[in-house]
Symmetry: C2
Subunit: 230 residues, 2 copies
DNA sequence: CGCTGTTTTGAAAACTGTCAAATCACGTGG
DNA sequence: CCACGTGATTTGACAGTTTTCAAAACAGCG
């Protein structure tokens, strides 16, 4: 498989940062990237280790997490397809990046990619745009976590997952499967597994949702969730 | 005052994003920026309003905050001199930016600045670097907030302020004044004013700190704070 | 069909939030 | 320079929620 066909089969070639490049520049960038498939649970980047790679997520889902020395996990971000991972300009990685599901990545060497930033100003601008989005998302998570009450956090989380599952942001999916385990959701929301479970049963009793197995969710009353989330 | 002298008197001209430019380009960028002085408590940018300006902080301190519809404030970020504010590529601002102290800004019109990004690739790269730092800080705040227990959050906050007050990050100041009110600290940590106050007195009773008035802090036992923070 | 790990449920303890009042700090004016 | 007034900070008591520890129910998988 040559470099050009790599991009041709890229499932996110329209939305990814590289899309800001013209065909010729893009072909040159493609020569620097290599595909990599990782399995669910695999560690993509590791905190503390040398930060010598960047990557674009082609398919699947990743989590950015930090582990306290007591082993408790804290989720800092979820990465969806077309997302970019790797801490730019940092000598060592501060966080772990772990695959939530089997995933495909397009991996770049750090120094080659940073040289490409110099050569392709449009790429820098596209990454700047994505970085600004990531910052906004991180701050949304801060606002979510400081929200009083576990129920509001769970409701807001469910709505956000429904939006991510739906094809357009305006049309949240009425039915979807959570890509995270209970422990991961709890680590994301800053609550315990038990409280999360209790709030889910409580929301189900109130008729806002219905659970289908451990990970399936039906949104019965999105409006009720919206109200609970604020 | 002409444009060149503006940069000559810029107190952060070494560290700011513009520093990535050569003299000629920098002079051209300076022509786009205007100085603005704001007083403590003044709103620099307002959530919901048109997002038509960016700014660099020259001196003072700013807070990025979000207000729930019940009026409760949530601090999302603190901006120090040489910091950049303004949500790039967003049509409307999502957050409020408010001066914590009297501050000096260098303000740029949005469209002019974005055109400058196209003309000066180094500027885009410098902003990318700063944006990555902001993202790291936001995620540190997430990790801080998900920390169990109010005492750990307060201890971690005090250490972070000590590092910010000290001239080098490795030499935290043993004595400093908090730039934030109790309400602002509480909004930053995701706890109430009362709990914050209780933890401060508790830390003082344990001999970790000593309070000098409402805002003065003496670090008596940094090691004890470090241990409490984890 | 049985097994293993995850999820849910239960009860008690610890913590934080809420409401209310006292104290303190700081700027203003005498 | 000191007294005063206003707002911020601290303290107290209590209610509510969350965490913790422990056990049961469940789901997924060989």
């Amino acid at each position: 498989m040559n470099e050009q066909s790599q991009c041709n089969t890229c499932p996110v070639r329209e939305r990814v940062a590289c899309a800001a490049l013209g065909p010729a520049d893009r072909a040159e960038l493609a020569r620097l990237g290599t595909r990599r498939r990782v399995r669910k649970g695999a560690t993509v980047f590791s905190a503390g280790e040398g930060n010598d790679q960047y990557a674009t997520l082609l398919s699947g889902a990743l989590k950015v997490a930090s582990f306290g020395e007591d082993g408790t996990e804290r989720l800092l971000s979820l990465i969806h397809p077309a997302g970019f991972v790797g801490e730019m300009f940092a000598p060592v990685a501060n966080h772990d990046v772990i695959a939530l599901t089997d995933s495909d990545l397009c991996v770049f060497g750090r120094s080659e990619y940073e040289r490409a930033l110099d050569r392709f100003p449009n790429l820098a601008k596209a990454l700047l745009k994505r970085s600004a989005q990531d910052l906004l998302e991180a701050r949304s998570l801060i606002a979510l976590q400081s929200r009083r009450g576990a129920r509001a956090r769970v409701a807001a989380f469910l709505l956000s997952m429904a939006r991510a599952a739906g094809h357009s942001a305006e049309r949240p999916a009425k039915q979807f499967a959570l890509p995270l385990s209970r422990g991961e959701i709890a680590a994301l929301l800053g609550i315990t597994i038990e409280t999360l479970s209790r709030q889910l049963t409580s929301l189900e009793c109130d008729g806002a949702i219905r659970r289908q197995g451990a990970r399936g969710i039906d949104l019965l009353e999105p409006a009720l969730l919206e109200q609970t989330a604020r």
